[in-house]
Amino acid sequence: MTQTESRTALVELSDVSKHYGNVRALEGVSLEVHAGEITCVLGDNGAGKSTLIKIIAGLHQHDGGTLALEGEDTRLSSPREALDRGIATVYQDLAVVPLMPVWRNFFLGSEPRKGAGPFKRMDVDLMRRTTHAELLRMGIDLRDVDQPIGTLSGGERQCVAIARAVYFGAKVLVLDEPTAALGVKQSGVVLKYVAAARDQGLGVVLITHNPHHAYLVGDRFVLLKRGTMVGNHERDEITLDELTRQMAGGNELDDLRHELQRTQGSGAV
């Protein structure tokens, strides 16, 4: 355990804040991501999860606090820079272009090329083969990598996005609600790939509002509420019940239960 303590985190946010005009989107949030571990960020709608992702992904810059990548204090200026530093983000909308073939999507933004001068071109063969092979490794056997990615199921698309990030040598994988729109079975498949990515040594940030999914795979849990951090736990410090309770609003839930019980009671009488 002491070894884990002394390791530098791949990504470390300390006391980070972000304002949009006079709206305080994020205040005093700290988070660590280690290689081979999954850090879960939990929060209800409007808790600041998206803002947090955007800071890690380089889409927005933080106003206060520090963002350190492998111990080095950094300010990410663009998604490209974040990618170059090994941070790959898979957004809720998956950042895929539905009408484009799977293989074009897989390599979008980082197309391998061959040839020289005016004949410099994409290595289409390599792209097709790699896409097929990488997806096969994740257990998806696509008959045709030429089909538009929009024709794949939600879970498959999520897996393509994860496979893409892993292939391009991401050190940190940020997943924005990967199971939000999926059924039970597909969620399970996606979580398996998240775990597979972790086992390959990636640090994973898993954003979700489902404590059950988080507890299945998470090593650390950061709870957000209305832009502030209300909890930061390691796995052995917290039970699923406690996590669910905090996530659901803690005392608010008790109040709500109380209120609902009274309503039910009065209805019965």
Binding site: M100, R104, E111, R121, R143, D146
Partner: protein, 346 residues
């Protein structure tokens, strides 16, 4: 018996039949349409199948096609350019007036015109990416400004609505060879614009299908935010596309100038829609992200066949617009249907 076994073993492969692949091609609808129009006029007009008629049709197609190719690329990239029609005239005017006023070799004017036209394209792209306004508004503004400038500057400099002839100027014969000559093949004259057109289709197809830039064009049109998120230079791609349209306008403009030797400053208004229609008939999705350069060429060819076919059939040319509208509707419906079939979930 063994054949049946083979079928069973390859069951999964059979599901992506060649037919399905063919249906997935964006230009399929337009090819079917082009064949229909060709057969129709082959029967309706006796002279339609003569080599000289085909040459005329190809020439008409090429003048539209030269612009339809870059306009199609731009549409795949998710944008419009309403200034494309008058930009052709602007390009011709700049070339002609610069050479005449400076009494320079016409090639100097041609070069200056290239720079000016590319700058107009870059302006369109820059304004679009900077202001994030719809391209419809931005290029409508450019369209009106160019229309005004074409007339205004021509009247200011030449005193009339057309430019002075540059036919006797140095370099005119060679420039005419490049932009407006006629090549005789088997006793039939073919305009050189057909070559320009085919070359542009080839280059555009190469860019779209085989280069990184092509991947980016599909991506910025299909899902701009996703493209940006994975590191595609969206701004550069869009500005490049507008400059591509400008390049097409330059070629078309020089042809306009050198096939006569004077330019009417009011020309070109309305052509921007023709280019867009050709691209749409050719399978470009109006919302971006889908289409092909070959399709735009087929769209332009349908245009050429219809406009000249009506003349060969000795009908009243007033019917041309009606045919065009019907064709546009049919092609769009067919494309939508084909795409739905091709993308139907397994």
């Amino acid at each position: 018996m063994s054949a049946t076994e083979g079928t069973v073993a390859d069951e999964r492969i059979l599901q992506t039949s060649p037919l399905r692949k063919l249906l997935g091609r964006p230009e399929l609808g337009s090819v079917v349409g082009a064949i229909a129009v060709f057969v129709f006029f082959a029967f309706a007009a006796d002279s339609f199948l003569r080599a000289s008629s085909i040459s005329t049709v190809l020439y008409a197609s090429s003048t539209i096609g030269i612009m339809a190719v870059p306009v199609a690329l731009l549409m795949i990239g998710g944008e419009f350019d309403l200034s494309a029609g008058v930009m052709v005239t602007s390009s011709a005017l700049v070339s002609s007036m610069f050479s005449y006023q400076m009494t320079a070799n016409v090639w100097v004017g041609v070069g200056v015109s290239l720079l000016v036209t590319l700058a107009v394209g870059a302006f369109n792209g820059f304004m679009l990416t900077r202001t994030k306004l719809p391209s419809f508004i931005i290029t409508l503004g450019t369209f009106l400004m160019l229309t005004g400038m074409n007339l205004g500057f021509t009247k200011l400099i030449d005193g009339t609505v057309s430019t002075k002839t540059i036919a006797d100027m140095e370099g005119f014969p060679s420039a005419r060879d490049v932009f407006a000559s006629t090549l005789t093949i088997g006793g039939v004259g073919f305009k050189i614009t057909i070559l320009w057109w085919l070359a542009l289709v080839a280059v555009a197809s190469w860019i779209l299908l085989r280069t990184r830039a092509g991947n980016w064009i599909f991506a910025v049109g299909g899902n701009q935010d996703a493209a940006r998120a994975v590191g595609v230079p969206v701004t550069k791609t869009k500005i490049g596309l507008y400059m591509g349209v400008a390049f097409g306008a330059w070629i078309a403009g020089q042809h306009l100038l050198f096939s006569y030797d004077v330019v009417q400053s009011g020309e070109g208004v309305g052509n921007e829609l023709i280019y867009i229609i050709a691209a749409v008939i050719g399978g470009c999705l109006i919302t971006g992200g889908y289409g092909s350069a070959v399709g735009s060429a087929v769209g332009a060819f349908i245009f050429g066949m219809t406009s000249k076919g009506i003349v060969f059939a000795e009908w009243n040319p007033d019917w041309f617009k009606f045919f065009l509208g019907a064709m546009l509707l049919l092609a769009t419906l067919l494309n939508a249907w084909v795409r739905k079939r091709a993308e139907a979930t397994k």
